[in-house]
Subunit: 473 residues, 3 copies
């Protein structure tokens, strides 16, 4: 292979500048405050007979929004720091593409979901911010599959197209099919998972073993990754409830997700321990599979799945996801040539599909006796054009929604992967994958020697340098 050029001194700044200027122009043309975040709200309140400021949607959604925001930036970012020398790239590029993606998502989702036909404007409020964060999550999931193997420019391109595809599939699933998917099992996790896996498949590197020394974790990188795991795990109830109905809808989604995730932890530990000769646990499983329950309850969290139902979903997902790491990931790599750095197939794609199926079944099984007449209408939004839809039909449309998300993920990933294969994006050579030194100024290169203990900070004698030189030759 020819020596790859990873110099991104022109491409990265140009892409960041031009795209950010485009965002400013498009926001200037299209984006405005919605009526609850505009100074005219005092008039809206009077007009709508709203008696207290506390009924502003801000107070229903803001705590959940902040939790979701933490999941996007700390959760996803730190979950990917597990590699011994790619933590800067994990946290830093996650930061970059999420910051771009959320702006583009506000526009794309705005055009598809909330463009005001009279004014031609998109009016945004706190729920728009949550949806933008959700949309970004799909792309960050995809990043997990290609972690360490792509350049930041490729990631930005992947995010541009990912957000675009997301907005379209979301429109089809939520608006046209009228499927419910408040926590995004389908629109976020299934789509994001297959989008990333397909891209990774297109970008297959047969000689990736050349960077084997940089794969795997070190002790402290695994602990950093647990920060990501725990913030995702703890705030997942907020994720699945962030845009559900006010009142009982948010309340129930929290309870279901809380229980489901607790159950997942126990079966993950069980399978992880059982898979080793002496019962030792594997950090990879604990960091990832414990989260599968949250993914799988993304669609059904707001339904009356009942507390034990949530436990069952978590129970199964812990098993399936951990087994995925043990059996399916090696198979995907060897046989299907899909190199999945973070194992997103086990954490997002499979559990996402399970979530879609669980959602379709629980929707189809919903009954007026359990939900109440009005409760059924509220939960499935059987109003307007959909007021005559039955729960069975709804189940069917839920299943159809899941297929749409897979199709968009695979087809979109194939196209975007081909674009990313062009030799202009500054991706690293096989032997330089998973190495922060390619795209980051390293502390150890800053002239000051990098000490790992207090001793090492002291001046190094020529003799010592000689020793090192000889021994590492």
């Amino acid at each position: 292979e020819y020596q790859k050029n990873t110099n991104i001194r022109l491409t990265l700044p140009v892409v960041c500048f031009v795209w950010q200027i485009a965002m400013i122009i498009l926001f200037g043309v299209f984006i405005r405050y919605d009526e609850e975040s505009d100074t005219h709200w005092v008039e809206t309140k009077a007009h709508d007979n709203i008696t207290s400021d506390i009924e502003n949607d801000f107070y229903f959604r803001y705590p959940s929004f902040q939790d979701v925001h933490v999941m996007i930036f700390v959760g996803f970012g730190f979950l990917m720091t597990f590699l011994k020398r790619y933590s800067f790239g994990a946290v830093g590029f996650n930061f970059l593409i999420a910051s771009f993606g959320l702006q583009w998502a506000l526009l794309m989702q705005g055009w598809f979901h909330s463009l005001d036909p009279q004014t031609g404007k998109i009016f945004i409020g706190v729920e728009s911010l949550i949806n933008a964060d959700f949309c970004v999550a799909g792309c960050l999931i995809a990043y997990g599959a290609v972690l360490g193997k792509v350049s930041p420019v490729q990631l930005l391109v992947m995010t541009l197209f990912g957000v675009t595809l997301f907005a379209v599939e979301e429109y089809i699933i939520l608006n046209l099919l009228h499927a419910r998917d408040a926590g995004g099992s389908m629109v976020i996790h299934t789509f994001g998972g297959y989008y990333g896996l397909t891209i990774s498949w297109v970008l297959y590197r047969p000689n990736l073993h050349q960077s084997k020394r940089m794969q795997g974790s070190v002790y402290h990188s695994d602990i950093f990754a647990m920060i990501g795991t725990l913030f995702l795990w703890m705030f997942w109830p907020s994720f699945n409830s962030a845009i559900t109905d006010h009142g009982d809808g948010q309340h129930r989604a929290v309870i279901n997700t809380y229980l489901c995730l607790a159950s997942t932890v126990l079966t993950t530990v069980a399978i992880s321990s059982f898979s080793q000769k002496t019962g030792k646990l594997d950090m990879v499983h604990i960091q990832n599979s414990t989260l599968a329950g949250g993914v799988a309850l993304g669609t059904a969290a707001e339904f009356m799945i009942s507390p034990y139902g949530a436990l069952i979903v978590g129970f199964l997902c812990g098993i399936i996801s951990t087994m995925g790491y043990i059996f399916i990931s090696p198979f995907l790599e060897k046989t299907l040539k899909i190199q999945d750095t973070c194992g997103i197939h086990n954490l997002h794609a499979m559990p996402g599909v399970i979530g879609g199926i669980v959602g379709a079944i629980t929707a189809a099984a919903a009954s007026e006796s359990v939900y109440g007449k009005q409760g059924l209408i509220n939960t499935f939004d059987f109003t307007g054009d959909f007021k005559d839809r039955t729960v069975l039909t709804q189940g069917g449309y839920q299943a159809a929604g899941m297929c749409v998300s897979i199709v968009f993920g695979v087809a979109g990933g194939a196209i975007v992967g081909s674009i990313l294969k062009l030799p202009i994006w500054g991706d690293p050579a096989d032997e330089n994958c998973f190495d922060d030194e390619v795209y980051w100024e390293h502390p150890s290169h800053s002239g000051v020697q990098q000490p790992h203990d207090p001793q090492a900070a002291r001046p190094v004698s020529p003799f010592s340098m000689l020793c090192l030189t000889i021994s590492q030759n």
Copy 2:
């Protein structure tokens, strides 16, 4: 000593599976959504003339719940990462037992506190989730005493019995004695502290010095532990206010806890510095004793203890807790044979007892002139069977409650400790304590060499290997 068998490949998966299946069955039989998280809430609202969704208890409690949730999983988990090579066990086993414990707590607390006599069901909402997290906290405190010396199976057993005992003592203290303890100085910290200390006393290891090389911290493990410290410290106002009365009750508990903890930091620093020849600070004190004020205000946080009263409690606790680390911990270990890895006696047991006393005194000193007539009734819940109780009587019952929590902690710990002494649980030998390698696949064992600096990641020459071999022989 015979070589201990730490193979948990059967016991751990079996316990996780069987107990999780039991949870599913029991949840199926007993647990249902409460009226505020059920789709029938739309009818409840109409029936009770509730005008806005925002009056769902969810919006009063959810932000506090999420903060408490962070304390349980990140706070307790990371606080225990200070050991140089037991961070996986700290965060990972904390994750496991909390996930099991909260399910079991929902059942146990449900049976004792909210079993509906007509339907035989337990109806859960966001406050139940908070109480489950609280219950788990007691067991996580106990984990601190035995950190590094027990197997995950032992921890699960300890949690099973711990939650059970907790629910009973909590029922006696809060319902029968009608003591107030919103932040759990007595029911959580005193109980959890003495439960753990007694277990550690029963499991005394005379030859623990054999693992001395694994005790103590390294630089970065101390910083990880500060993540735990700070998230506990910052969110403690949420902890102490999470289940207090709506409105002024939550508001006041936050102010008191915020002030108390600030005061604790200053006296902790003062004593820590004064205890060293040159005034240097000890990370152990900063990580732990700074939190003692929050523990000690668990009972009185919702009372009219007044801002300067909160400062005084914090002032004293910083001193007592830090002195505990300097003087009492060595005494406990040498004389009483209690090996307390994290010093929970100084952070939870003693401050918990102080909190019980502070609560009894401030309750007994409450007056209508300070609280107002209705305020007094609201704060101490002088309604129903207790409508004629005086504040002096209340003070007495508060003190009685504290005794109950100590008795349950010590007696329960003795029994559970004896069970855990059975040689079937896979606990480590004395020389393998505080070592993650016993229960965790280590990154360094994964075939890929573990580098601690970029140099080390490069191929190592035979010469270098020889050097290492000789010098480490």
Copy 3:
């Protein structure tokens, strides 16, 4: 230079004790619960016809308060952990001075803003806690300039005076000039920035290069610092909205800050990449300059700056702040003799000034057509003595406010710097700067050898010791 005495065994404990006792006495005399956190609230509710507990200000502000609290203790604390061996000091001293500062701030801000003339008391609630945290932020910013070069006693003195100066300049800017500054571009960031820079200038150390080996970061300290960066970045929308008007005011401030910060990330990455020969990114820029947009929107976040306006502010700040690190910081150090450890000039001082200017311009440009008549009055609080003020006049007063904050920062810093120059505070010698060993018991000194990998924990052979001795001689 004579050998400096860094023994603080007397000064630090005495300062902590005496000041904390002073706090208790002053709180006893002055501080009381406000009507929303007092048990008499049940009467207030009846009197004011408040129908629901949810209208207690607690529920409008508490989620934002907790986010701000996280920014103060984890955000600022961890942002400063980037130095290879000063992370204890970064997190620990930040913890200490913030804990003292918030108590003193409640008193100082209370005396200036909310002393009840009839009772002579200060009544505090959740908004007071937020303001106290804000006030502390100013001092923590100043800490960034002198990080690693001062003793904890000096930091406490700096905080005592810093909080005092803050309360006065805040009173002048917000009350006398009636400028708006909800997120504190002027009162927090500009003041804090220049306060710290001037102190650092007075304390200039010409021989600081003697501790060069301790400057700079190591791989994992940079990742710890990213924890600080991200929690600041994610919660900045809460910071800028925490004390804005209920309803649309908080809602709009969140949207603006969210967008502004996203934009900053892209231009920071662009400039950082462009500044290196091969386009590599510099962690210093990513850790700091990505936050500049939040600082610069502190004043205008609650205005109708419009979404694209927020993006433009972020766009410019990312560029200016990153360029500051590249060009201005070296200039400040070499020419102006200002040693700015964390680069607070680029993160707080400059963006703060920009924020003041943006605030003045957007205020002057406000119109009834955009804000609505009542909206304009609400946003700029044109009531009481200020009911006839025009937006143009308001713009002028905003600009005047910015000048006040600079003057207070520089003049206050000069005075306080002179006090800190006295040779009684136990500051470190030039060759011991940036070294935790001066003020912290080190893990490696605790008798147990400190291993950096499992091997190192094992006994070291004499041969190995010899090798080390020779090579490091």
